[in-house]
Amino acid sequence: MTYLARSPWVIHYDASSCNGCDIEVLACLTPLYDIERFGIINTGNPKHADVFLVTGSINEQNKEVIKNIYNQIPEPKVVVAIGICATSGGVFRECYNVMGGIDTMIPVDVYVPGCAARPEMIIDGVVKALGILEEKWAKMEAGKK
């Protein structure tokens, strides 16, 4: 029995996104979608977070930041790449400074494509991620024994 799925706290990082997906992420917090119904809280602190939402693609400036945030999230954790830029680099993938999607730097569990990803899609992606979070927790517990 795990309570992870009942209280997933997310941290959101904007990695060179155009702000479109970020606004959609924040739209999930509004009274219309109200993700706090599911116990989801948008924390600003990786040490409190379970789910890492990343928007935008990786570049030379932010690759260290992403790695740093990822390493500071306590296990078990999942990463959700939101928007087409985060999943593959999108239209910017050929740019000289863009390295590609988030998975070029850290392991990604769920991809939510779209430009911008709709709030419904984002919530769906996070709910998918919760299943993976529980699996990871089960593995972690098995590893302890």
Binding site: G39, G44, N45, P74, E75
Partner: protein, 285 residues
């Protein structure tokens, strides 16, 4: 000392449950005030259970010691209070508990954590005079520092020390970590500096801090109940009204600067408290 140990033990067992339910109800009422549905009633319990399932990243091992000392002393404060002990000892144990929390936040080198610790220290300075004057006022009324004597005083304490009651109510917001005084840590505004105090707490350490906060909420509500102890029905209704009022204030007010919080708390405590105690001291009846 013939303390009523049983009620103390009941407090130790029931307070986290009641505190968690209050926190859950608080979140639902807050959400409704903001036009949202809000989380389930048991959400705070889910949160804390989850925190204990997570890996605990301890930045420095002393942090863990301080946070455990924090919950132990908060539980001691409440148990002593509910078993009818000396109210001054209760106040000092509460201060000591908060000193441990501040030390826990100082133990980390994160600048956010240090700022949070400094602000918590300021909140403690703002809160202390009011609660000590309340203890003094209750002594002047009931001629005893023991909670069991204060609670059996037959007469409305609230009518004799209304000034102290309002001074306590003013600083009560700080202890509940609600706006406009949620400047050391808050239940909202997770992305901001004011989450400072808990920045470097994670996993079970954060969970322990949360449970300690539930203990403290129940203890403080018990302290407010003392003012209304002459009639349990009025007492319970007063507690509910005061808590709803706190939630309302939390939702309608903006956060103030720490200097305003400190100054206003001291001025209100000084004016209302000293005038009230003066009147009580020189009373002619």
């Amino acid at each position: 000392m013939n303390l009523n140990i049983i009620t103390g033990i009941i407090f130790l067992i029931l307070a986290p449950l009641i505190g968690g339910l209050i926190a859950g109800a608080d979140r639902i009422v807050t959400a409704r005030m903001q036009g949202r549905v809000g989380p389930p009633l048991l959400q705070p319990f889910y949160d804390v259970s989850k925190l204990f399932e997570k890996e605990t990243m301890v930045v420095t091992t002393t942090q863990y010691v301080y946070v455990v000392a924090y919950i132990v002393f908060i539980a001691f404060t409440g148990a002593l209070f509910f078993s009818g002990g000396d109210i001054l000892l209760v106040v000092f144990a509460l201060t000591l508990a908060h000193v441990f929390l501040i030390m826990g936040a100082y133990a980390s080198r994160s600048p956010y954590s240090v700022i949070g610790a400094e602000r918590e220290l300021i909140m403690l300075m703002a809160f202390e005079p009011a609660i000590i004057l309340c203890a003094a006022g209750m002594y002047l009324v009931s001629k005893s520092f023991f909670v069991r004597d204060i609670i059996s005083y037959n007469g409305a304490i609230i009518l004799l020390i209304p000034g102290l009651f309002f001074a306590f109510l003013y600083v009560f917001t700080m202890k509940l970590r609600k706006s406009p005084f949620d400047i050391s840590t808050s239940h909202h505004a997770h992305q901001e500096l004011i989450k400072g105090l808990t920045t470097d707490f994670s996993g079970s350490v954060l969970g322990i801090t949360e449970i300690a906060h539930w203990y403290e909420t129940v203890f403080l509500l018990g302290f407010i109940y003392l003012f209304f102890a002459f009639n349990p029905v009025i007492g319970i209704i007063a507690l509910i009204v005061i808590y709803l009022l706190e939630i309302y204030i939390d939702n309608v007010s903006a956060r103030v600067r720490w200097s305003f919080a400190l100054k206003s708390a001291w001025i209100i405590t000084a004016v209302l408290g000293i005038v009230n105690i003066g009147i009580l001291f020189f009373r002619w009846w």
